[in-house]
Amino acid sequence: MDFDPQAEAQLSAGIPDPGFPPDPRGVSSEGRGPWFLAYRRFLRNRVAVAFLGVFVLIVIFVLAAPLWAEHVAQSGPNQTHTLEKITVNGKKREVVTPEGEPIGPQWFGAGGKFFLGADSRLGRDEMVRLMYGGRTSLLIGIGSALVTMVVGIVLGLLAGYFRGWIDTVIARTLDVLWSLPVFLVGLALGVSLAIGGLKLGPIELSGGSLWIPVLVITIFTVPYVARPIRGEVLALSEKEFVEAAIAQGASPLRVMFGEILPNLASTIIVFSTLTIANNMLFEAGLSFLGAGVQPPNSSWGTMITVGEELLNTQPLLAIIPGVMILLTVLSLNIVGDGLRDALDPRAKVRLEVHAGMVAPEGEAV
């Protein structure tokens, strides 16, 4: 998206945005900057604001993990309690029965211990694992999205600005990555790296490192960011302000990062939220299949795997982490949509195309 001076002038002059009705509170847009206007547009989108609240609550929930673990559950996320007994409403109960049946949700019957029950025959506190697992899932989702965005933006800028052989090499490499069966290759890569770790010059990652899933996810999601960015850069490079900068003797780096990149800001913000959501889903899938987060650590994906086996007797063990993934991804997607509408109301088509993981309309390939 580029900042069309005419559109900005319209907005700054208080002319109603064609994509939205005028502010019902009658607050004037006169003299306001584009970011303030976008912020106001976003606030007008009640659904997006509500889901932003949901996402913030989820973040608070997972950040509170150590507090809950220490003061309420009195158990670490990987601590096993197979042979222990707890007092529930004055009665002693086994955490895992001799038949291997883990205790179900106790809510506050045991003072908050085993609030959601035990996770498996190992008798670990499901609530504590859910909170710590959420940290892992979010960390991987956000971490891999950050790396994806940085790599994707740099590649997109280089390919779109320089064109020629640089574009060919980058675009074709992205094409190759795009053509791979993402999940199958990710699964294979995840499994092999989880066993052997990674040694790449000074970089050394052990098999259980969270950077492994981050790396695997990044490799396969970069094309989904770099390709549309490249398309935007191709279009922006033709604009007069870029030509003006070049005419003034600006270096390519300055043009790319000083002129073009700021015009990509809103796209990047929107892409970031969607990428976090997509990457969290990818992580959940990889972990579910054993190629993501490695035991004994939990993520919401691994928790579904553990719960799946007990689906008949303890369905909540699989349902709760599933619902957490659903809520997080849904909230990020809706916030992302809200941001898109707020930042660039005319770019609906372009981003909807991205969400469907196909080449954006009008993009030069």
Partner: protein, 547 residues
């Protein structure tokens, strides 16, 4: 070395289409009161390692091919201890042992034919043994005592002079370099089941070679399933030559690999499949047991040991006190729960049911003592990698074990490997950080040497396909294993094996924690009483019949 390869837990990808046939064709009643004929629909949780008699070395493979490839000797078609008896298979009678217990002479039964109609010749036995070495089978070590076999294993040329055969008389004379008390048992393994001369020396899992048993494999799709039909030459020729061998009840059998165990259970309950070969997962075990025991479900005892090995050659496990402390720290009661009662706690190498087993418990659970021992030793190297496979209960056992090591003060890291290649990975000495991990062991044959020679003898330490994960190499105990291995098993030897068990456990290369039960789960259409569970081959296909 036979490990139990359970179904991989790649649940969710189980898109194997089911074969919706509950075919129980009519026909005459069998002696057991069931019907003859019909198609048995079976589900396996994973494909066997190989569908090739010379190569397969898992319980799944042996169960799948037990009624297709008959060796010269075989195991009695019976459950429990009776099923441990070695009886003549393709051989007329048990071998005549001479030359100071170094020569075994057998005679092939006359008139035997393969499922392709070719006659079975005595020299086919030589061909099978040579094929075993040429394909680098995991079963090769059982037969290297044959004169010239060791050289043949390396050169793959020049034949094995220790095997002399006469196709006219059917005589097979096998000469060993030294006596081997377990050789009769080893002649009963599928590794040396005759196959027609000229069978390609490569993995034939997709096109299994002709066999001599009552059933033949007509179609095999590794990873998906396989099918059986009656061997047309069984009734005509082989059954007459070996009348004591069961002919089976069903006409056909169709195996489908279904990786999702819950789907398997549901399908057996609904009669879509007649038998689920792999055991019920712990999460559903008691539900199924309570609902179907006696009618469609039966618990089967096995002769097996589940254990954690500790690499005795590297710190911290090169310290005896550390290994003993780990044994004190482990609580088999917790592991019994993790396996939902499907294991029974033990603390020794030999499992109940194995000749020579004498119960003892050197390391009663005492975490305080274990911690004190570690404190006393104060190991300088505290970073440990713990290995296990991703099979639900083994993974949980590994997680539990890792937690115990953490409690003892070690920095631990857990590596969970797909069960399909777990033993290949930990059996390869170039794999880094092989500190400690999970393993199991199911008997190859009912002889205690099978629990010492492959896993605890120094000579079993190999660069690849290593079975001695603890890398223990105690000269005095090696000598004892070798000596006992040369003797025929009698009361004196059984006592010696019991003592050997204790000697090893004093050195604590392992932390054994249990012996496993398996199960038979069939549909309501099957006569459960008739199903035989053999300690070596598990369920025999010939024993399944429709009600």
């Amino acid at each position: 070395m036979k490990k139990f390869l359970l179904a991989a837990t790649v649940i969710g990808l189980a898109a194997v289409s089911s074969l919706a046939l509950v075919a129980c064709g009519g026909g005459a009643s069998s002696a057991g009161g069931g019907k003859e004929g019909g198609t048995l629909n079976i589900t396996y949780g994973s494909s066997p390692d190989y569908m090739d008699p010379q190569l397969s070395y898992t319980a799944e493979g042996w169960t799948a091919m037990g009624e297709v490839y008959i060796p010269l000797l075989t195991y009695k078609h019976a459950s429990g201890t009776e099923g441990s008896e070695v009886v003549p298979g393709l051989a007329k009678e048990m071998p005549k042992i001479s030359n100071g217990a170094k020569t075994y002479t057998l005679f092939l039964r006359p008139g035997l034919k393969y499922s392709n109609g070719k006659p079975v010749k005595a020299s086919d036995f030589t061909y099978a043994v040579e094929r075993l070495f040429k394909t680098n089978s995991g079963g090769s070590p059982f037969y290297t005592t044959i004169v010239g076999a060791e050289k043949f294993a390396t050169t793959k040329k020049g034949g094995i002079p220790g095997i002399k055969t006469n196709d006219k008389t059917g005589e097979i004379a096998i000469t060993l370099t030294k006596p081997r008390g377990t050789f009769t048992n080893e002649l009963g393994l599928m590794f040396v089941a005759p196959v027609p001369a000229g069978t390609p020396n490569e993995d034939l899992s997709a096109h299994p070679p002709p066999g001599t048993g009552p059933y033949m494999i007509t179609k095999s799709q590794p990873g998906r399933g396989w099918e059986y039909e009656r061997n047309p030459y069984w009734a005509k020729d082989n059954a007459k030559a070996m009348p004591e061998y069961p002919s089976g009840h069903v006409d056909k059998a169709k195996v489908t690999v279904v990786r999702n165990k819950q789907t398997q259970i549901n399908d057996v309950e609904q009669g879509k499949y007649d038998w689920m070969q792999n055991p019920i997962p712990p999460g559903s075990y008691h539900q199924v047991k309570d609902k179907y025991e006696g009618r469609q479900f039966r618990v089967e005892s096995t002769i097996s040991t589940y254990y954690f090995w500790m690499n005795t050659t590297i710190p911290p496990f090169n310290n005896l006190k550390v290994r003993q402390a780990v044994n004190y720290a482990l609580d088999s009661a917790a592991l019994e729960r993790i396996y939902a009662g499907q294991i029974k706690g033990t603390q020794q190498i030999l499992p109940p049911g194995m000749p020579g087993y004498q119960k003892f418990e050197l390391y009663p659970h005492n975490i305080a003592k274990a911690k004190a021992m570690i404190k006393e030793v104060h190991p300088s190297h505290t970073s440990i990698t713990v290995w296990t496979d991703s099979e639900t209960e083994n993974k949980e056992a590994g997680e539990y074990y890792e937690g115990v090591l953490k409690e003892l003060g070690f920095n631990t890291k857990l590596k969970v490997i797909n069960p399909d290649n777990y033993f290949t990975v930990i059996g390869n000495k170039s794999t880094p950080e092989l500190d400690t991990g999970w393993s199991d062991w199911f008997e190859d044959y009912p002889h205690p040497n099978d629990f010492f020679q492959p896993m605890l003898a120094g000579e079993s330490i190999l660069r690849t396909n290593n079975g001695n994960f603890a890398n223990i190499d105690e000269p005095a105990l090696n000598k004892e294993i070798a000596q006992l291995g040369e003797e025929q098993l009698g009361p004196k030897q059984k006592t010696a094996y019991a003592a050997l068990d204790k000697k090893f456990m004093k050195l604590a290369p392992w932390a054994p924690y249990g012996t496993r039960t398996l199960d038979t789960f069939v549909s309501s259409a099957i006569n459960l009483e008739g199903v035989i569970f053999n300690p070596t081959f598990n369920q025999y296909l010939t024993s399944f019949e429709f009600k």
